[in-house]
Subunit: 614 residues, 2 copies
């Protein structure tokens, strides 16, 4: 088992290896930005889906407006996050920023929204990737859920191997996508402007039925805002960069900005030139690619292939970011502590597993259908954008450092605009599923608050400041009781061990079958076991409760309810994992019940079943 | 939780209540025969599916031949099983009969075949029932897997409540089906013979393309043999009847015989008169019913409804029979012992749960499609028929009681005919899935053999006949070690308890974080804990293995490898079930690893986290 694990996940790493596991700009860009870059692949298309049915050919005029507004919004976000990275060199996602500057509830809102959005990112991007695969190979369609789950598994394993390994594994598709998109844009422009090739007129464009209204513009805008998901990832993951971490993180942020501007505006512009209108079976990008490169050219297929890969890889951003976020939340005591512990390979393995399982469940519940999942998406991102920006404003206001007004202004503008965007998205997508997010966020907050309350309570009860140091009487602690079903080697071993620690031992037997009990009594005599055997009859074929009742009764404890008594349990141990299934699980169940009592200690004495001799 | 369980499953029953839980002839018939009776609903149809495409209208001539052969086979089986019931008043399924008379391997073959067939019975009959429902209400089609699983759940709960309760719940549909079938047969005959109503000629019958060959006859015969599945159930379940059990069981057997003869021959004959040819959307029975009663008459709908119900209820036969079979196998040590224990409600709850889960998995894997499952069916039944009959022959031969030759002849004929039938079915259905059964049976046998070997080995090692009575030295058993992560109330409680039992205690700390370790050392001094604290540094953020290594090292044990030492572990206990998720599971994991060592005893000292005060 261990070898298999090492083979799949790699050998365990030392704590001091941690700096080797961090990434450079070249490795960091694909890992932390594939989500943002991949959304360019469909943002333009999402806008056209809103516009074309109403505006017809005029859609393309307004497409550039929306594209420019979104790039403007991105610019504000980039400037804002540059400041966040400077201020939070250990990683400053909206959770941390709002926690420090806005207080508990806003930070939990940010944490919950991000959690939901990261899970959705994994589910949405893997199903989108698989949809691209199954539309090429139709015989795979019945297995799309299984394929999606398999891809999630692969990404999870890659990430469990450690962050720099996952960077190696997953950086390739991102660069392929960027490169081929840029080639497409350059070729497309040259073809049109230099060679003057006339694009094929598109027969699918409906007539314009209405003028652009503000409402329609906002709808298109909120549809296109999916292009901005994933920007937060970089500021969250500053700690994952090699030194100088903040500098490297900012470099990646700028690179991302440039890439998104080039690709988003380039693709929008080409869509306009080539009048690419999305249909159910042809994406905008594939239409552009087929006109630029020709329908069966190699570049066309490379472009399709790269799109599929990048869509799938966007999930990886969530994997490098979410476990880190969860570890922050866990460290603050709002999530189970296991999420704050690094695994064998220095990755936050529990967070990775949680993300995979949650996304897998979503994929299963929604049967791998992307269009059910998409509307849930993006609200959470913009809620957390708003909180993070507002937090920065508060920070500048409090610290009042050099040029704070200027900085607060930038973040303030970011906060207001992302807030408005969040509202636009929530309203536009409300009926299609965004309501679910608005239900889940408060629910997640309640859970986090309860977890926190629990940890606080435990800490209070464990504190030595209480000055309560319990003392126990030796005579009571030495009152040993051994539950016995039949007399065998294991029981004898237990008795002999117990005798080393105490000379006040009782054996206890619950009779469910008279013949068995007689046999036990006879053996007891035959092997002259010199401790008393108490037998109680019970009608309900149940062993655990009568024992617990007897052990806690005055008859046994002599009324010293607060003192400790000791139950000694013989326990089978088999070398094979399936061995435990074959023995009645009574011992385990018994222990669980007994340990619910503050004054019962339980000793397990193992009896190892040796390997076969044959 | 307990109240919920009691509400769903009913209050626990005393062991002495067991006779109240047994059933009369009236209750036993539906429970143990619904499988056999329900198969009449489709046996005639299965034969026609084979004949009609080749023989056309001539099919109906040969239908009566096949029907008569199958009824003849049934007669042989009934006579054979009558003798089995007499000889095995405690229940004599083919497993028991072949175990006693043929030896280990034949009995395991019978056990494995029956297990597979019972699981298939549940899967096949529930999916068939749901198919009937979804063809009436098409909007339910996408949820057929979920509905099937829900029905399995309902039947499982009914059976977990106890056998007589399940009899009450499920006897109603069987009687409705019998009654409405008989009414249909009587009406159909009267209409034709008394009133001389001319049946509508069926336009769907293809031309005859071939004469009847032996091969085709055998194919039709093996298709119709599904009518005989479920006959075994009565002889298996003799122990479930009220006294006089064998008499009551035989009465049910005869009743079953009469019912199957009347219904099977009646339906076959009506199919001939009314030339009912099965099509994809109309079953033979529904065609007959529509001609006899009229297309939208109440009786037509009652007949359809009753068919649906009885198909679903056939699953119930498997539920009342399989857990009993599994309990026999478990008692002989070939299956985990838990299957031999009665639950709170005196039913074999673990067998019921196993059957439900296995059938549920089948339904899920085959996506609720009946025609994938059907070919797997019936081979197992006839293998076990053959073994049971052969076993009876051996028995007569060995005991040589009064009239043994006569009795041996009856069982011998049964054995030969069922053997031939098994081969016919296996060959005819081999490519369609029967091969899977021929793979699964040996696999199941291997598992049962291994389970048995394990139990035997455990018994041998536990036997006091080994005359090995281990003695331990007190000084060594009192070498206590307490693993400590930080100093808190729980640790102090553990130390104080340990002091009552020993005065040789070491505390052991693994340092993964220098600051934490310093804090611990300081506290150790501050609260003047008077036991030595050993600190070891470890590089891999791993606590369990270094501790195990230290505890088993010569440094700690002083080289006495065979003596017992004691590890004392402070353990958090939370009152809420989710509390355990919130604490690092190190203590549990540690215990599991430590108990793998024959010479380490583990003491758990609970620290109960009290309820909230707010």
């Amino acid at each position: 088992m261990k070898n298999l694990k090492n083979y799949i996940l790699g050998k365990p790493l030392k704590s001091s290896d941690i700096h080797h596991e961090k990434f450079s700009v070249f490795r960091g860009l694909p890992v932390l930005s594939s989500d943002a870059i991949s959304s360019v692949a469909y943002a333009c298309e999402e806008i056209l889906w809103v516009f074309v049915p109403v505006l017809g050919i005029a859609s393309f005029t307004y497409l550039s407006w929306v594209t420019l507004s979104i790039i403007g919004l991105l610019a504000i976000l980039i400037f804002s996050y540059r400041q966040t990275i400077d201020s939070y060199p250990k990683g400053g996602g909206s959770y941390i920023v709002s926690r420090e500057n806005l207080g508990e509830i806003p930070s939990l809102v940010a944490g919950a929204s991000l959690t939901i959005d990261y899970i959705l990112t994994v589910a949405v991007s893997t199903t989108a990737g698989v949809a691209a695969i199954t539309s090429a190979f139709e015989f795979l369609l019945p297995y799309k859920v299984e394929i999606t789950l398999f891809i999630i598994l692969i990404i999870a394993i890659g990430n469990l191997r450690g962050i720099s390994e996952s960077a190696k594994l997953f950086s390739f598709p991102t660069y392929i996508f960027i490169l081929s998109s840029v080639i497409m844009i350059v070729f497309g422009l040259i073809k049109y402007f230099v060679y003057g090739v006339e694009p094929i007129s598109n027969p699918n464009i409906p007539r314009q039925v209405h003028d652009l209204t503000i409402l329609l513009f906002l709808k298109g805008f909120s549809a296109g805002c999916t292009a901005l998901t994933g920007v937060e990832a970089i500021s969250d993951g500053v700690a994952n960069f090699k030194e100088p971490a903040t500098k490297n993180a900012k470099r990646v942020l700028y690179l991302l900005f440039i890439i998104v501007i080039v690709m988003f505006s380039g693709i929008s512009y080409l869509a306009t030139i080539y009048t690419a209108v999305p249909t159910l079976d042809r994406t905008v990008i594939s239409q552009i690619a087929s006109q630029v490169f020709g329908d069966n050219s190699i570049m066309f297929y490379i472009m399709q292939f790269a799109t599929t890969l990048i869509l799938t890889m966007a999930a990886n951003t969530a994997y490098s970011d979410f476990p880190l976020l969860l570890s922050f939340i866990a460290r603050d005591g709002y999530a189970p502590r296991q999420f704050a512990k690094r695994g064998d390979r220095l990755s936050y393995s529990n967070g990775i597993i949680f993300l995979s399982v949650a996304a897998g469940i979503l994929v299963g519940v929604f049967k791998g259908e992307n269009h059910y999942l998409l509307p849930l998406y993006a609200v959470g991102v913009f809620i957390s954008f708003t909180l993070s920006q507002s937090g920065m404003v508060m920070r500048w206001y409090k610290t009042k450092g050099k040029g704070w007004k200027h900085k607060a202004f930038i973040n303030g503008v970011g906060a207001i605009i992302t807030f408005i965007t969040a509202i636009i998205i929530a309203i536009n997508k409300f009926m299609h599923g965004a309501w679910l997010v608005l239900v889940l966020v408060p629910l997640a907050i309640i859970v986090m608050k309860r977890v926190n309350r629990h940890y606080k309570r435990v800490a209070a009860q464990l504190s030595l400041e209480n000055n309560y140091f319990p003392k126990f009487s030796e005579s009571q602690a030495k009152r040993f009781i051994i539950p016995v079903a039949s007399l065998n080697e294991s029981v004898v071993k237990t008795i002999n061990y117990a005798k080393c620690l105490s000379n006040d031992i009782t054996a206890f037997h619950i009779s469910v079958d008279d013949a068995e009990t007689e046999k036990l009594k006879m053996k007891w005599k035959k092997y002259s076991i010199d401790i008393p055997l108490v037998v109680k009859k019970h009608e309900y074929r149940e062993v655990v409760n009568p024992l617990v009742k007897y052990v806690t009764s005055d008859e046994f404890t002599g009324g010293n309810k607060d003192d400790m008594i000791t139950v000694v349990i013989p326990q089978f141990i088999t070398k094979k994992w399936w061995g435990n299934i074959l023995h009645n699980q009574t011992a385990l169940f018994l222990k669980r019940i007994l340990l619910q009592h503050r004054n019962i200690a339980v000793i397990s004495v193992p009896f190892i079943i040796e390997k076969y001799e044959d």
